[in-house]
């Protein structure tokens, strides 16, 4: 059976990203319309839209396994692409697809399960001699046990959700008296997010770099890696900027780490696209962290430096095709940087700032790729993540990529919500970032100076305020255009303006 029509069990930019490749491969796509986002951009790019707006349900449709299977069957889709997040790493969903003779575009349920359960993944890695941070042997039942283990391996330690990912259910503990509180928080968060409160403990590697390897495997047992991505710029374990390659790796280390990444994938007979995450310490020791059994948000940087369409490879592999690309064909060319432009308030510690995007305009230079599911008039709703767009910039080398990134960032035009743009503008000018010596502690070390504003800019902002007030006084004799200005009296305003 070959894929001829696929249900996209996702929304936003990744739904659109998948549709683009599907269209090129002449595969029909089905998108799901939800009541939360009935006018979303991804719907307009699908060949078919399944209307689910009437459905009243506690859980979003993208997490509703039974519903998605029934939509696939009703619309005659013979494959499902889960994208990232939602059910992308749910072994039960993958199995349910297979049970209903629907191709799941991703790895086997067995591989998802083994890598998804971090305690099983740890045991597997241990068995295969993969370098890892010291940790608990399996799940930790309670706080008392946690303290005992932590004392044995030494503080600081990190509590992680066994079924975790994406930073949730993770807490760093530096002293034994913090353990009680952190253990409960991590466990509760894990239960809420993954329906599984079990957690385990690992030695916390201080200030490492987060390096991950892109893997491709087919159903014939061939596995290759497509080089690394550097994802150390993160906050609360949420990545903000990724690049490929990483300036921390030379070709020797790349080869060693890549080989180990392939070895881990082979241990679970992995096929489809996947990512093996490592921590790299200042002495260039690396430790296996986890494997993500899905397409990653940051996959575009790998696509740019390798020239390989990862979604296309996922589809071909799901069709049972053998990998045509060999390890020796993989050459990393140039440099790519991805900035995640989210609706977040950098001035309030990256707090989400949902709302309507009134205007959006992205740069269109040839060194820029933009992956987005948002257009002018779209809304960032609080039920989903806060992503507005991924700005992916390339250059011949890192220096040029950073230079292009600076230019591109100044051409992004977003109105309606606050965004992570001020942070990126600061980042690309930061010495540590330019040197490449930054670690996962980078944002924390900035200590609230997540943005930079020159005195002149503040002055310009002030002049803008004055001009605005003046203009509004000329146009309207009342204060009608000041939506929120309950207290503003035109008389007072006038008086103040006259003083200028």
């Amino acid at each position: 059976m070959k894929i001829n029509k696929m249900l996209i069990a996702n929304r936003g930019e990744i739904a659109i990203r998948i549709m683009k490749t599907a269209r090129r491969m002449k595969i029909r796509t089905v998108a799901v319309k939800t009541a939360v986002e009935p006018n979303a951009m991804y719907l307009s790019l699908a060949d078919e839209v399944f209307d689910n707006t009437e459905e009243v349900s506690e859980i979003p449709v993208f997490l509703d396994i039974e519903k998605l299977i029934s939509i696939a069957l009703k619309t005659g889709a013979n494959a499902v692409h889960p994208g990232y997040g939602f059910l992308a790493e749910n072994a039960y969903f993958a199995q349910k697809c297979l049970d209903n003779e629907i191709i799941f575009i991703g790895p086997s349920p067995d591989a998802i399960y083994k890598m998804g359960n971090k305690t099983i993944a740890r045991k597997l890695a241990l068995k295969n001699g993969i370098p890892m941070a010291m940790g608990s042997n399996g799940n930790v039942p309670n706080e008392e046990e946690a303290v005992k283990i932590a004392e044995k391996i030494g503080y600081p330690v990190i509590i992680k959700a066994a079924s975790g990912g994406g930073g949730r259910g993770m807490r760093i503990v530096r002293k034994s008296d913090e353990m009680d509180k952190m253990f409960i928080i991590a466990s509760k968060e894990a239960e809420k997010a993954f329906n599984d409160p079990s957690v385990f403990i690992e030695k916390y590697i201080e200030n490492p770099k987060h390096i991950e390897f892109q893997i491709l495997g087919d159903t014939k047992g061939n596995v290759i890696h497509l080089g690394e991505r550097e994802c150390s710029i993160q906050r609360k374990h949420q990545k903000l900027l990724e690049e490929s390659p990483s300036c921390a790796l030379d070709s020797g280390l790349r080869k060693t780490m890549g080989k180990i990444a392939v070895q881990i994938a082979k241990a679970v007979n992995y096929f489809s696209a996947g990512t093996v995450e490592f921590l790299l310490d200042s002495e260039k020791n690396f430790y296996f962290m986890e494997m993500n059994t899905r397409i990653q948000v940051e996959h575009p940087v790998t696509e740019i430096v390798t020239g390989i369409d990862l979604i296309e490879q996922q589809i071909r592999i799901a069709n049972g095709e053998e990998l045509k690309i060999k390890q020796k064909d993989i050459k990393l060319k140039g440099w790519a940087i991805e900035c995640r432009i989210n609706a977040e308030d950098v001035q309030a510690g990256f707090a989400p700032d949902p709302g309507k995007i009134e205007r959006l305009s992205m740069p269109s230079e040839n060194y820029v790729r933009v992956d987005t599911g948002i257009q002018s008039g779209s809304s960032i709703v609080s039920s989903y993540d806060s992503m507005i767009a991924k700005l992916i910039v390339s250059g011949r080398d890192r220096k040029e990529a950073i230079k292009n990134c600076k230019l591109a960032l100044d051409k992004v035009w977003i109105k309606g919500t606050k965004t992570t743009l001020p942070f990126f503008r600061l980042l690309v000018r930061n010495q540590k970032f330019q040197d490449g010596t930054f670690t996962t502690a980078f944002i924390e070390d900035l200590d609230k100076y997540y943005y930079n504003s020159e005195y002149e800019e503040m002055l310009a902002a002030w002049l803008a305020t004055k001009l605005f007030v003046e203009e509004n006084l000329q146009e309207h004799s009342t204060n009608a255009s000041f939506e929120n200005s309950v207290d503003m009296s035109p008389w007072l305003l006038n008086k103040r303006i006259n003083q200028f």
Partner: protein, 175 residues
């Protein structure tokens, strides 16, 4: 009229409490190096409202204004300005010295979301930076920490309830 003539300077307090004074009359230009750049406010279909300055367009939006306080979003960064004349500046100083230190800290929801857990009770003593409750917003669980050292007087937030931005969550007696 006389009043107006006497004012030679205008003071602006930014949100970071930086004080600027501008000589009057205020001109719409900013000097960088040896060049003056004119600041112009414009608007069109494609960009909405913007500032034209240094041959570049900057997005600008007035977020809110209240009496002599303005919040403006300029180049994706928000600024809060309070405009004072020398006279009102002096009056403010007098007022602030007469006023006692605030005893009570009201902790408000920094964003809309759902209360997942409350980690303190009325009467609990808390230290600055100590997590008080967990607020989930947009797939992230956020620890809301105590801004001060003190004692919890009231807990208004309830577990599993939804809160709006700026809803009062907890009151703390400052110590």
């Amino acid at each position: 009229m006389n009043d107006k003539l006497r004012i030679k300077k205008l003071y602006t307090l930014s949100s970071e409490n930086r004080k600027f004074s501008f000589p009057l009359p205020l001109k719409n230009k900013i000097r960088i190096g040896k060049r003056d750049y004119i600041v112009q406010l414009k608007a069109d279909e494609k960009y909405g409202m913007y500032i034209l300055w240094k041959n570049r367009k900057y997005p600008v939006e007035i977020v809110r204004s209240r009496q002599n306080k303005y919040e403006i979003l300029f180049n994706d960064i928000s600024y809060i300005f309070t405009v004072e004349t020398p006279f009102s500046m002096k009056r403010m100083k007098v007022l602030s010295t007469g006023k006692g230190k605030t005893e009570k800290e009201s902790l408000k929801a920094p964003m809309p979301g759902k209360i997942i857990d409350i980690l303190v009770r009325e009467g609990s003593n808390v230290l600055r930076g100590e997590p008080l409750l967990i607020l989930e917003a947009m797939k992230m669980q956020n620890e809301i920490q105590s801004p001060v050292n003190g004692q919890i007087i009231r807990v208004l937030a309830k577990p599993d309830s939804n809160v709006m931005k700026d809803d009062l969550l907890i009151e703390i007696k400052v110590e």
